[in-house]
Symmetry: C2
DNA sequence: GCTATATTTCACATTTATGTGAAATTAATC
DNA sequence: GATTAATTTCACATAAATGTGAAATATAGC
C-alpha cells in the first residue's frame, strides 16, 4: 500500500492537470481518502501545490541528467534533453500554467557560469558549446533559445493531447522544428 | 466619454491579463464603475469573458486580414500574419490560457477547403501554397505547423513580457525561428 | 425644469471552498 | 488483546465571490 502522502500528491497532479481550480474534495476523492485526511498532511492548498512542484523538480532533474549523460555529442544531448522535457512536462503540465516557464532571468549567475553543477548549468553548457562551434545561429540570444526550448515542450504536449498529430510523429516533429528554429 | 460596456470589456481584458481569477469588483474598479453596474451589462462572469473573446475575434480577424492583403508572396504573408498574431495576442494573452490555442481539429472542413472565406482559410491557403512549391518541409503535417504558429506567438509574448530579450530583436527572432522550424 | 435613462447604494441570499476541533472508528503493531 | 497511530465522521466557523431587489441619486436630452 502506497504512502498516503505520495498518493495525495499523485492524485493532485492528475486532478489539477485536468482542472487547476478543482477543489480539494476532488483531489481527496481521487486519492480515495477523506478531505480531512488530506488536511492532516497539507495545511492548505499552497502547501499541496508546493509539494507537487518539488516532486516535479526532482523527477525532471533526474530525467534530464540521464539524458545529458547518455551522450557526449552536444546536439544529441540537446535532443535527448528535449525528449526528457516532453515526457516530464506531460505529467506536470498544470504547473507550467501556474508558474510559466522558468525565465532566463531566474537562472543564477553561478548557473550560467557553470559553477553550480545543476541540470540547468548543463543545458547552458550544451548550448554554449554548439554556439561556439558555429553549429547554432549566433545571432540568437541564449535567453531566446532557452524560451524556445520550453515553448517547444509545452507545444508538443498540447499537440499530443489534442490528438491532431500522429503520436509516432510527434517527437520527431518536435526535434526537427526545435533544432531548425535555432539554426542547428 | 466611452461607452460603459466597452469600458468594462477593456478593463476586464487588462485585469484578467494580470490575474485571471481576479474578482469582478476589481474589474469594475478598474473601469471606474460600481460592480452593480457591471452586472447590469453582464449577467455573470461567463458573459463578460465571452464578450472579451468576441472582441478578440474581430480584432484579430481584422489585423490578420490586413496582413494577408499586404502582399501576394505567401512567405511574406505568413511573416506578416505572425507579427499580427503577436501584436494581437499580447493584448488577449489571458484568453489563450483559458481556451488554449484553437486546435487544428476545431477548424471546419469548409475552412480547410477554402470554401469558407475566413481568415483561417487564408492561413491554410498560405501554408498549402508553400508546401506545394516545396518551400516548406512536406513531412510536417499542417496540424503541426498550425500548432507551431500559435506556440511561437505565445512564446514571443511571454519572452517579451519577461524582458530577457531586447525588444528590438524579438519579432525578428520569432520569424527566424518559426520559418526555420517549418523548413522555410 | 422635466423626464427618461443610467448608475449607485444598501441590504441580503446563495454558493463554494477552506480550514479546524473533538469524538468515533478503523488499522496496525507488539 | 491492548495500545498506538491513522483515518473518518460530524459539526461548525469563516471567508470570498457572486448575483439580485428596490430605493435613491445622478446625468443627459429635450
Amino acid at each position: 500500500m502506497k504512502d498516503t502522502k505520495v498518493q495525495i500528491v499523485e492524485s493532485a497532479i492528475t486532478v489539477f492537470n485536468t482542472d487547476y481550480s478543482a477543489s480539494l474534495d476532488m483531489v481527496a476523492e481521487k486519492a480515495g481518502i477523506h478531505r480531512r485526511t488530506l488536511h492532516l498532511y497539507f495545511g492548505n492548498r499552497q502547501a499541496l501545490i508546493a509539494c507537487c512542484k518539488a516532486e516535479m523538480m526532482t523527477t525532471c532533474q533526474q530525467a534530464m541528467t540521464v539524458a545529458y549523460q547518455a551522450s557526449s555529442d552536444p546536439a544529441k544531448q540537446l535532443e535527448l534533453m528535449l525528449y526528457a522535457g516532453i515526457d516530464c512536462g506531460a505529467k506536470y503540465a498544470f504547473l507550467d500554467k501556474i508558474y510559466g516557464h522558468t525565465a532566463y532571468g531566474d537562472v543564477t549567475q553561478d548557473e550560467k557560469n557553470g559553477t553550480y553543477d545543476s541540470i540547468k548549468a548543463k543545458w547552458f553548457k550544451v548550448i554554449a558549446s554548439l554556439q561556439q562551434n558555429g553549429l547554432v545561429n549566433q545571432q540568437l540570444s541564449i535567453a531566446w533559445i532557452f524560451a524556445l526550448f520550453g515553448s517547444m515542450i509545452t507545444n508538443t504536449i498540447n499537440v499530443s493531447n489534442s490528438g491532431d498529430v500522429a503520436q509516432n510523429d510527434i517527437k520527431a516533429f518536435a526535434w526537427y522544428s526545435f533544432s531548425k528554429s535555432i539554426g542547428l
